[in-house]
């Protein structure tokens, strides 16, 4: 069996055909010569020979069928015909491919997002075995751990496997001769990378004893830091850098695959912890992230049970620190960034599926209309004996070609989306959302194309199969709009399209509106004339509280003297976002609740002018003043609803408040005032609702925000460089992070929601555009096909308005029915968004009404254009054309 023969017969067909013809001719000539020799005339002899031989063409066809890959030949032929027929109507083809490309593209982009975020394992060895261990308290369901607890756990780890800890920190990184930069640094136990199964690309891992005092001045750089800051220098190992003013030696560079934005990939470099005796005794801290790798053979359930059991032992052994807490181990993959999106990714996939469905039904409609105009051609072909398969093949091939082209376009769209997402999400730290358009994405794109080809190719195919030969041939040249059944089907498609686009549009509009409200929520504070930025004083240079306070006093003084500056304030946090410093409090003089049950509040340490700078309102008592120094008695401010919750109708001013730490009351001080409630722009509700303020001068705070308020009439952006210069003059090694107008910082923080908003907006716009294109196309084509009928109506005395109404009415009815159905669907979509972002208000009847109105107006326009044209038919010309 010759493997190549079928191919040869396919491509070298002419040679084989010639051979076959020549051989048969030879035979016929010989036979004819024989008969001629018997006395027949040459003419008769030839006929006789041919009679005996049989049908040459059919024999050749049979021979061809026997030897070649006929189906492949036919397919190539069909493809050629399909391409030619599509090329003949470039407008249709263009719209079809564009529709499909965008529809599938939206879907593929969403898949690549899910693929990159949820489906791909983290870049660690056996990543699915790794666990993240949380300490759960009433205030913090995903809390961290203390060094002492970690060391205890490490001693008891045997039945589990191994544990490692990690903590992130902002530090200043400086090389000789370069300006200091703020870096996102991590500290880890020496075994972190061994536990994760990550091998440095250059150099080595931390040695097991490098987290002990005196040995921990070593650093492993991330691939990104190595490339960006050190130009991928091959001799980086052994170099020395200054981190927070201390010298460290580079011992390793992590592989590029470690730069996964979902987990630790945005850390610039890692250092080992230093487990000094003092640090190792610390049982208060809650900033260590704890990772575990169960030993082979230990099931995740058994591992989680061990962790929970260890948490219980801690509660019994150290009730002061651990009362009311428990430990919980979850799969690390589930804790990776983006995985917490919960309902959002399925929602996006679902909505992009709607776009695809609209695209499909649109194409089904277009193809159906196209097939109907070719009804006669089909009828004739069926009449001369084409089989069903032969009738359907060109239709299916056309659908297949379109969807392949659409799939290719979709891959391009997905690439574009990836780049857009990377661009949109680029943070100031160089961290960004990155996902590959890999084979699974390509597979999805072409899978979706196949699905769509089946979905929209089916409609015209069914039509062609049901074709009534007799009627079609009889109906002659008169335009046909298809039977009642087809009409009903096409109307249903339009209704469906409008229903789907209504869902898309309302979901998008409500989200955009809700996010806009959130974005511009200035509840209890103002940001208009502010410049904000973050400063982190290195612990090495600013070792004691006195140095920190001196720097802060000096900074406020210098900044306040800048021209155009009205107010200067420092604070641990701005009111723009949730405060992360959560502490427990107790009202002095009352009975103490059980350990762990004390009320928790978010704490902000603020300078005297903080409230003024942010225009936060004081409702009772006084604000902090210059007198509230480290040496003065402790004072507090509390929020209004906090005052209500803790003191009821009593006046809180003058009462005394204490912080609870390690079960003891500390820092007892007087409440001197009450601040009006405010709300941040964070979309997630904070489990902690109470607010407590303390003077910045009474507690050394190395990481703080600066807020500079411009005088009226001065644009805040003009102050930025002067502020930067001021800090450079104070400490040339000190970077100021994100120093820019406050509104821009707020925008920046909400960028992820902005990305989501843009995607939803694109879906909504796309859905509406496709649906209106669909209704326009169908009505325009129907109108064109019915021009003969309209002409007769006109000739019989119908007014042009009647004709317009005839076209306009049904189209509008379908659009409205769709919109109404869609309203029901939008309710579901809205509920889904509301459950994902409780901070965003989605019940907005005005937006709903406006969206419906927009949809109706677009539908009106899409129907009106062809309807008007129908009314303008030249009756005589139309009738003559028949």
């Amino acid at each position: 069996m010759n493997l190549f023969r079928p191919l040869r017969s396919l491509f070298g067909k002419s040679q084989l055909e010639r051979d076959m013809a020549e051989e048969m001719r030879f035979h016929l000539e010989q036979r004819a010569a024989e008969r001629a020799a018997e006395g027949l005339s040459p003419e008769e002899a030839r006929y006789a020979a041919e009679r005996r031989f049989g049908n040459v063409a059919s024999l050749q066809e049979q021979a061809r069928a026997d030897r070649g890959w006929v189906w492949l030949e036919n397919l190539l032929l069909d493809l050629r015909l399909g391409v030619r027929s599509l090329a003949k109507s470039p407008g249709f083809t263009f719209i079809a491919i564009l529709t499909l490309g965008l529809g599938i593209g939206a879907n593929t982009s969403m898949f690549s997002l899910v693929n990159g975020i949820m489906l791909k394992p983290l870049p660690y060895a056996d990543a699915d075995r790794l666990q993240h261990v949380y300490r759960v308290t009433a205030q913090q369901p995903e809390g961290g751990h203390s060094p002492a607890d970690f060391l205890d756990l490490r001693k008891a780890r045997e039945p589990y496997g191994d544990f490692a800890v990690f903590a992130s920190d902002r530090v200043s990184l400086s090389d000789p001769g370069k300006p200091a930069e703020l870096a996102f640094a991590g500290r880890s136990s020496a075994n972190l990378f061994a536990l994760l199964g990550v091998v440095p690309q250059l150099g080595r891992n931390f040695l097991p004893d490098e987290d002990t005092p005196g040995r921990s001045q070593v650093v492993i750089l991330s691939q990104r830091t190595w490339r960006n800051r050190y130009a991928a220098a091959p001799d980086i190992i052994g170099r020395r850098l200054r981190i927070d003013g201390e010298w460290h030696e580079v011992v390793g560079v992590l592989p590029a695959s470690f730069n996964d934005w979902r987990h630790l990939g945005n850390v610039d470099f890692f250092r080992p912890f230093t487990f000094t005796p003092e640090f190792s005794r610390d049982r208060k801290a809650t900033n260590l992230q704890l990772f575990g790798r169960p030993a082979p053979g230990v099931t995740p359930a058994a591992a989680a049970a061990f962790v929970a059991g260890f948490g219980e032992r801690l509660v019994r052994a150290h009730p002061a620190e651990h009362a009311g807490s428990s430990w919980r181990a979850v799969s690390m993959q589930a804790t990776a960034a983006g995985d917490s999106g919960g309902i959002i990714l399925p929602l996006l996939i679902g909505l992009s599926g709607f776009v695809l469905l609209i695209a499909c039904s649109n194409l089904a409609n277009l193809l159906l209309a196209r097939t109907m105009t070719r009804a006669r051609e089909f009828a004739v072909r069926a009449a001369i004996g084409a089989t069903r398969l032969q009738l359907l093949r060109p239709l299916l091939v056309e659908a297949g070609l379109l969807s392949l082209a659409g799939g290719a376009l979709a891959v391009l769209v997905a690439y574009g989306f990836r780049n857009w997402a990377a661009l949109r999400s680029t943070g100031d730290n160089g961290e960004f959302v990155w996902f590959e358009v890999d084979w699974s994405v390509m597979g999805w794109a072409f899978g979706a194309s196949l699905f769509t080809a089946a979905a929209f190719g089916l409609a015209p195919a069914l039509f062609a199969l049901r074709l009534n030969l007799n009627d079609t041939l009889k109906s002659g040249a008169r335009g046909s709009t298809g039977g009642r059944g087809q009409q009903r089907f096409r109307q249903l498609l339009i209704v469906g399209q409008f229903a789907l686009s209504m869902v898309l549009l309302t979901a998008a509009a409500l989200f955009i509106r809700g996010l806009h409200d959130l974005h511009h929520r200035r509840a209890g504070w103002q940001s208009a004339r502010l410049v904000t930025g973050g400063v982190a004083l290195p612990a090495g240079t600013y070792a004691d509280a006195e140095k920190v306070h001196a720097f802060q006093r000096l900074a406020v003084e210098r900044l306040a003297s800048l021209p155009g500056v009205e107010t200067v304030a420092l604070g641990r946090a701005t009111p723009f976002f949730h405060w992360t410093d959560v502490r427990k409090f107790h009202v002095a003089g009352r009975t103490r609740p059980a350990p762990g049950q004390e009320p928790a509040a978010m704490v902000n340490s603020i300078s005297p002018d903080f409230l003024a700078a942010f225009e936060m309102r004081l409702v009772a008592g006084r604000a902090f003043g210059e007198g509230d120094r480290a040496t003065a008695p402790r004072v507090y401010l509390i929020g209004q609803s906090t005052a209500r919750a803790w003191f009821g109708a009593e006046d809180p001013v003058g009462r005394r408040l204490a912080q609870i730490a390690e079960g003891r009351e500390i820092f007892t001080g007087e409440i001197v005032g009450v601040v009006a409630d405010f709300q941040s722009v964070d979309p997630d509700p904070n489990p902690v609702v109470h607010h407590v303020y303390q003077p910045l001068a009474q507690e050394a705070t190395r990481g703080f925000e600066i807020a500079v308020r411009a005088a009226p009439g001065i644009a805040p952006s003009t102050l930025v460089s002067a502020i930067r210069d001021t800090f450079a003059a104070l400490d040339p090694d000190l970077p100021v992070r994100r120093l820019q107008p406050a509104d821009r910082n707020i925008d920046r923080a909400l960028y992820q929601l902005g990305v989501l908003r843009d995607m939803l907006g694109a879906f909504g716009g796309l859905g509406l555009a496709l649906a209106s294109l669909g209704i326009y196309g169908v009505i325009a084509r129907t109108t064109a096909q019915r021009s003969g009928e309209f002409a007769i109506r006109l000739a019989l005395g119908a007014g042009r308005r009647d004709i317009t109404r005839l076209v306009f009415g049904p189209g509008l009815r379908q659009a409205l029915a769709g919109a109404l159905l869609g309203l029901i669907g939008s309710y579901g979509a809205t509920q889904a968004i509301a459950s994902a972002f409780p901070g965003i208000h989605t019940n907005n009847p005005v937006v709903l009404a406006v969206t419906t109105l927009i949809l109706v107006i677009v539908a009106l326009l899409a129907c009106w254009l062809p309807a008007r044209r129908a009314g303008r038919i030249d009756a005589i010309a139309a009738l003559r054309a028949e």
Partner: protein
Amino acid sequence: MAKKEDLLQGTLDMLVLRVLSRGELHGWGITLKLEQLSKSALQVDEGSLYPALYRMEEKGWIEAEWRTTENNRRAKYYSLTRAGRKQLEVATESWDRMSAIIALVMQSA
């Protein structure tokens, strides 16, 4: 036509193989030989020989070569391959068996 084809398929192939087992021939030559051997009793569309030839060539039972005849015409000469010879044996054997069975049934019934 399809029916006739089915009926003849196995036997026509066998006959052609048999004819070719005596030496290579072109299509016309095979026709003449069949006619001569069957004393012109075999009535077939002569053309159906050719699809059969191509099919057998495909299966590797026969191979073909273009050469000139003694009358200086180009013609495609077919000859048996090793596989063809084996096939002929198999076909002959099964034919013998089949005809013996049929004969047995026809005589005893």
